[in-house]
Symmetry: none
Subunit: 240 residues, 2 copies
DNA sequence: AAGTGGTCTAGACCACTAT
DNA sequence: TAGTGGTCTAGACCACTTG
């Protein structure tokens, strides 16, 4: 299994091996994994190297150690995957619902002062404006308006936008989407929003404002989302 | 500096020493710290032990390593501290407001099924129930109800609770507060909540449910907070 | 070429858990 | 008592950065 001549560190190869065993269900959550000394002997590597692999997986929350007892496969936590920056589709799928989208409008407009500031472009710059309804199990969940600079994605079409927008951006820009800042507030639905979301006017809604950034720290999208409060809660893990 | 006979691990003593140097400004953000081999020689400890100390501080974001160059004191990031699990007082102070608190009630009650589940205790177990108004610049911002097991803090008094509750918990339990899960939803104020928060009934509010955990993964508090939507927005940094 | 962090070894003793 | 993870040592070679 371990290739000592590989340019990949041994501890890394062992990490991958253990993760594979878990993915293939040969190791299940709660299972006791082989001891450090056992790995050391069977793989003919030093115990300190085994420890480095196991410590890394522990800090990733994949394994859990118990003094005197052994090392166990941690319980898979749904919430853990929801921790970070996920798309609507990913999030709803993780909650066991079928995500879909309905495009309301797709057009090029001139950036208002507000959006221009957030996208770090000049006011009046041409940007895409995309309005969508997000559905889960065919029920309206959120009303989303996105803005993106045309210069970043000159060949974006409505067709592409209705499919995997994030994947398209990452391909076009050869950069991955790594960070976003988001504000969350409570509000009540306007008449337009209520109609679209099929709720009563003035119903409670969660209002999100997100700015997404590429690896080079340049903003690529500004999104405003309105979620139905009766069907949606936001979960977050906090640490310090 | 290092006491090899101490029951405290050497790497831990070294961590404390380095942190102290930073606190005392003998090491400033951006400064190059002594190399691993230098620490190893001056403290007469193994380089692997030095590495353990430095790696821990690196994963805490206190130090930053650069291959071939050395290890540096990281820039202090305000956002970093706000990213995670902060107390109301810390958060408001960071926003430039003066935090304060008004105790509404402090009593021992029996855990309902709902709270017992979250605190992982038996239904009917005795718990503290603490109701407070949280103010910023003397304006009501949030209405907070906390529950904590009595067994965890047998000597908790109203006096203590009105001061630094988190600090008290950390002292009593000899464990730090590391994690919390939180849900965020939109709601509208009940009559009671509206009165307390000095807003109109049915006004939009942000509703938080938080469960806080100690290092040993045991829950120590369950909190329900109602924030005025007109004065409070929640900010979060997302990464993937 | 010298210095740095990254990886790795082959031992050792300790504290803790289980039987 | 045997087995586990926690800590520690005194070396070694590597890849990388800088003078």
């Amino acid at each position: 299994m371990i290739n000592k001549k590989s340019h990949l560190p041994i501890y890394y190869q062992l990490e991958e091996e253990i993760k594979k065993l878990i993915e293939e269900k040969q190791l299940q959550p709660g299972d006791l994994i082989p001891s450090e000394r056992e790995f050391s002997e069977t793989h003919e590597i030093s115990r300190m190297t085994v420890r480095q692999a196991i410590n890394n997986l522990t800090s990733e929350g994949i394994l859990e150690k118990q003094r005197g007892k052994g090392t166990f496969v941690a319980q898979a936590k749904l919430e853990q995957s929801l921790q970070g920056l996920t798309s609507f589709s990913e999030e709803m799928a993780a909650r066991g619902m079928e995500p879909s989208s309905r495009m309301l409008s797709f057009q090029r407009v001139k950036a208002t002062n507000h959006v221009a500031n957030r996208l770090e472009v000049e006011e009046g710059t041409e940007i895409y404006e995309i309005k969508r309804i997000r559905l889960a199990d065919s029920i309206p969940m959120a009303y989303e308006t996105s803005y993106m600079p045309v210069t970043l994605l000159p060949r974006l079409t409505e067709e592409v936008a209705s499919h995997s927008l994030y994947g398209y951006v990452e391909n076009e820009q050869k950069q991955s989407i790594k960070k976003a800042t988001q504000s969350i507030e409570a509000s009540s639905a306007t008449k337009e929003e209520a109609t679209i979301l099929e709720i009563e006017e003035k119903s409670s809604v969660l209002l999100f404002h997100r700015t997404g950034y590429l690896e080079n720290q340049k903003p690529f999208e500004v999104v405003k989302s309105i979620y139905r409060a009766d069907r949606y809660k936001f979960f977050i893990q906090l640490e310090r």
